[in-house]
Structures are given as C-alpha cells and as structure tokens.
Symmetry: C2
Subunit: 346 residues, 2 copies
Amino acid sequence: MPTSIVDVAKLAKVSISTVSRVINRSELVNQQTRARVESAITQLGYQPNAFARGLMLRRSDIVGLVLPDLHGEFYSEIIRGANIQARHLGYNLVVSSARDGDDSHSLLRAIQQRALLDGVAVMVSELTDRIAEVLAGFRLPYVVLDGEIDGTPHDSVVIDQRHGAVALMRHLVGPAGAKRIIFVGGLATNVDTIARLDAYRQVLAESGLPQAASDVYHLDYQYETAYRLAREHVRAWASAGCCVFAANDEMAAGIVAAASEAGLNVPRDLAVAGFDDTRVARMTRPPLTTVRVPMAKMGAQAMELLCHRIADPQRPRTQISLQPELVVRESCGTALRRAAGQPAHA
Amino acid sequence: MPTSIVDVAKLAKVSISTVSRVINRSELVNQQTRARVESAITQLGYQPNAFARGLMLRRSDIVGLVLPDLHGEFYSEIIRGANIQARHLGYNLVVSSARDGDDSHSLLRAIQQRALLDGVAVMVSELTDRIAEVLAGFRLPYVVLDGEIDGTPHDSVVIDQRHGAVALMRHLVGPAGAKRIIFVGGLATNVDTIARLDAYRQVLAESGLPQAASDVYHLDYQYETAYRLAREHVRAWASAGCCVFAANDEMAAGIVAAASEAGLNVPRDLAVAGFDDTRVARMTRPPLTTVRVPMAKMGAQAMELLCHRIADPQRPRTQISLQPELVVRESCGTALRRAAGQPAHA
DNA sequence: CAGTTCTTTGACATCGCTTTCAGTCCAGCA
DNA sequence: TGCTGGACTGAAAGCGATGTCAAAGAACTG
C-alpha cells in the first residue's frame, strides 16, 4: 500500500536505479532528471522502506543502549550524553532497560536476535554468568559500560571508582578528621559497591583506622532503607565520632534525614558523604560532599567507542577510564577539624 | 558472511521453505525433518535476518516510546509501565528522547523515516505546531501521552490533571485552611502547568479566595529555581497566611528547604503542596502532601492502546483518562486548623 | 485397483531496495 | 567519417526471508 521506489520511478519516468541514485545523493545524475525525481518523491510523500534498505546495506544507523534499570538521574545523564554523541556520529539511539531483576541477559538475547541495531552499549549492574555468556557469543558490535568483566576483554568505558572513592575517603580521614568510618553500600555483588568498598578498606588500612566487619552495611541504594537503618544507629555513630560513607547520594540523604530528626547536627555531630553527585546531593540540607561521576561523558565515550568498533570490527579492544572528581560541600564540614571541636561552618 | 537460511537448508538437506517452516513453528513438518533442521540451526548458530523478515512481514515487533526528556522519576515510571506491558503483548520496547529543547518533532520525523517500528507512543511537554504537524502526517500507528492536542483527534491516554489539582486545592482551602494560595508552576506553555493552573483558579473562584496575578509564578520545574524564588518570598508568604501549591514535587521540596532555612516551620508557618508523588515527596522533611499520578499505568495503557491501533488501523480513536489521587502527608498539616492556631502535628 | 485425500516437501515469486554492468547518446578528435 | 571517451541511464542480479502452489508419495475409500 505505501508507495515504493517503483511508484516514484513511474511518475518520474525513470528507472528505479535513478531514483535510488537520487536518494543516495550520487553525483552521476543529470540536474533535470534529479529535479524530476525529487518532485515525484515529494509529490508521493515517498519514504524508502527501512527494511529493504537495511537488507542491502546491512545496517540501520541505529545503535542501542541497554541499562539495568532507568530509575535515577544517574541513568538519564548517561542517556543524555550518549544521545547527543550518537546523533553527532550519524546514529539514532534507542534505549532499552532490563525489567525488574536481572533479565538483562534475555533482553540482550532478544536484541541480538532482532539484530536491527548496528551495535549496542550495555551496562550491567550485577555481573551474572548468564550475561557474560551472552556477551561472549555476541554477534553485534558492543561496548560495556562501567563494568569490568573479567574473562573475555571487552571494549569498555569504566569509571575509575577506586580513584574517586579513595579521594573521598582521604577527605574523610584528613580534613574531616574521622576516627571511624561506616560504609553503607549496595548489594555485595554490585560492581560499584565492590569498587567503593575496596577503596574504603584500602584507605582505612593505610591510615591505621579500625576496620570492623560490623561497620559495613549492604543495603539497596534506596533512601528509605538507609533512613531506617540510620534511625537505629545514628546516635551511636555520632557519639563514637564516626563518619558515614554512603555508596550513593540517595542513601546519604536518608542518613542525613535520620540524623537531623534525631536532633543531630550534620556535619558537626555526624559527617555524611555520598557518591555520584546527583541532584539529591544539592537538595539535601546540608548539601552533600560527594564524588561526581562523569555520567554524560561516559555515555558519550561509549558511543564513540561503539562507532569505532562498528566501523572496524577487527580493531583491538579498547578500555577507556574516566576520572571522577571529589565535590566538597557541607555534609562533612568544610576544612573541619573535629579534634579541635570547631563548629562545622560559621 | 553470517549464516543465512540457505546454509541451514543445505546442511539439513532440505529446501529453504522447510527451514522457514521450522522457524515459524508451522505444524506441517515431519518430526524427523524438523529435528534435522533444528540441529542444523543450532550447529550453525543461525539467526534469521531481521531485515529480510521485516521486509516480508512488514513488522518488527518493536514499538517505541518517545519522551520529551528523561530526567526524573516521572519518566522512568512511565517507561517501566510501558516496558512491562509491551513485553506482555509480545513487543519489544525502545525508548528515545528528544534532546535538549523541543526537537521532538525532528526525532519523530527520524523515526517515521526509519520506520523500523511498528508503532510509537509519544509524549510531548510543549505542544508546538511543528509537532502537531508531524503527527498530522504520521504514517506509523501512534498514541499520544498526557497531552490533549486539539485539532486532529488522537488515540491518547491522559491524566485528569484538573481532577487531581482540584482535589489538592480543595484540601488546601478546606482542611489546611489556606487564606491565600501561591501557585508555582512550569512554563506557561507547558500542558501540565496549564491544567493545574486552571484548577487553581477554579477552586480559588469557587471558594471566594483572592486571585492575584502576582501570586502565580512560572518557573522551570527545578528544585534550585524554586528554592531561590522561595528564599525571597517565604517570610512574606508565611506572615500572609499563604499556602504554596507547587506544580511538582521538586519545586515543592525547594520551597520547603527555603522555608526551613528561614526558620519557618512547615506546615505550621507555611503549608506547601507538591504534585506527582515522586520519590522526593517522601524524601522531603516533612514529607509532601501531593497528588499521585499513575505514571506506570499511563505507560501500560499507552502500550495497550497502541497495540490495538496496530492491530486495527481503522478502529475509532480512543481517549483514556486516568485519575490521579490526593496523597495527604505532613507538609500541609494533617487535619490542620490554622484558624485555631493548633500545631501542625503532635 | 482406481480414485481421492492427506501429509510433506521443494520451486519459485515476492517484498523494496542497492549495485554492478552494459548500453545509449553525444562531443571531441584524428 | 569513424573512433574514443565521458556523462547518464536502465536492466537485472542479488540481499534473506515468507508464502503460494504444485508435486510426490502415503494412506484411505469405495
């Protein structure tokens, strides 16, 4: 029913080859013929069939971005960065997210079967064997976001979590003068949590601070959960001179809220640090000291890498590492010296 | 290079028709032949070419969801609902968002040109002529989300914004006992803002409260902006016995923060209501009285409608209206009687 | 046993496009 | 006048699937 290239050809009284040439801006078409064809195209409102085109060209100019989930500014920033870069490179971007739970592997499988995409950037939160397995046999060009997956080396762009977390921890033990630090993370299998916890332990070790297994909590990255946890412990933490290092801003915000409600002053009585520098970090009172993760940039870099891979499937795998940045706000005190008993900020 | 149906046919020593039959689970294939073909398929790791398939079938089983932006829980909830429903109906969902600004129209145009999708659900925040124009000439089945676009009637699922806003306003003038209400909205062209402002005016009128043009502010739905605005006015508002109706939770949170910092007690000194019931509503202290918008449901309904449209392009246009729900928390007082000078909550 | 039906299979047209490859036409040149 | 080459154009061969139709053989009927 929709108009095809032959309709255009008939109307313009040329062959389909010529129409095709006009569409693909080939230079070998006479000026007048071209005009005739173009007018026929607009007259019929013709648009090439993408399936037929893709069948010949073996590409769709569409790339995908697969995320474990879409909740949170974190992801939308990645998408934004990726989107802009993808268009810049001549691709259209589509986003898909695994439903609840870990069925990213089935989503990836579906994508691979459909194979209408030229390539895909995938981000996984939990590294399951099934995902690794799917990826290992993947036919489509792909890059991995923020997940160092061992075994097969992938094209990937990762955030140097350790670096950022170490900087934050050093800020805590240094300027903020923590005597003991509580770590509140996500699931123990979560790749981000693993990296941040690692840095936590390293800095504790290097600065001779106590390491107790009971100082490490594994929650779910949610405000509410952290809030409830903190409500129970916050007074104890404060009187023990603790700082809290939450693995994301939302949990940090929950902890700050619990502390405030318990009549504690943040940061004077309890310093709390977050991670990610999402919008909540500025919405919390006091604003959170946190680590800014270059999310938009990560998305953009992923697209760039992906396009290179698409262009040359044989090129060697590349790893890009992005540096996060410590953002000092007020939730851990500004140049606070707790030992001296000074107030947090004037 | 990748294996095609002929490779499978050769290996299994059958014709391509038979392979096709096996793939499409046609019943007319002999048990043994089927087994042979299936083994050939797995042996070669064969996967049908989606372009060729789409070319014949004229469908891809993929539907799209176009959003004006992806920031905010608002959108991710829609996506979640749409995603689940789409899969349920046998479709895969891809999401795309307009970049910054209002180039949804160009995105739509691109989608229409590619036309690899079976249909698309579009949500627009600002109703520009260009978008209406693109939609008017749209070839793909589509539904419109949360935007009553006049002129051509569309399949659409809308939130009955007025209804929710009226309920909230009545709560403000009734139980919360507001004498004067400040409206803080988004841009004056924003469809949501228009509906909410409308309800605001209606309830003011019906309850004989003062309507001053200077009580209406048009911001940008951001926390920061609302915070800055509130910092200037909050004391004046409080002493005038105002309530604030913010058109989304984030702005409401900013206003609450400004009020708290000015030493005001919310809700005793100033009641603040939000809209949307996003996560921030519960993260604010005190938690926000707001209006819950069934976002996930909206996404799901959109998918359902879209699938019906795809199945039957001739069916009459349908309008689905979803009812939002008033959520009373503490930011406007619980059964507060300001006239009696009672404290907000014990 | 001939005729009919059912089951199973393969040949081939088709979808709408891109891309050789082989003209056709005409100008330029010997 | 005949030849060469350049500028355009068209015919036709795929791309990789689906689906139609006919044929081959088995099974069933009278």
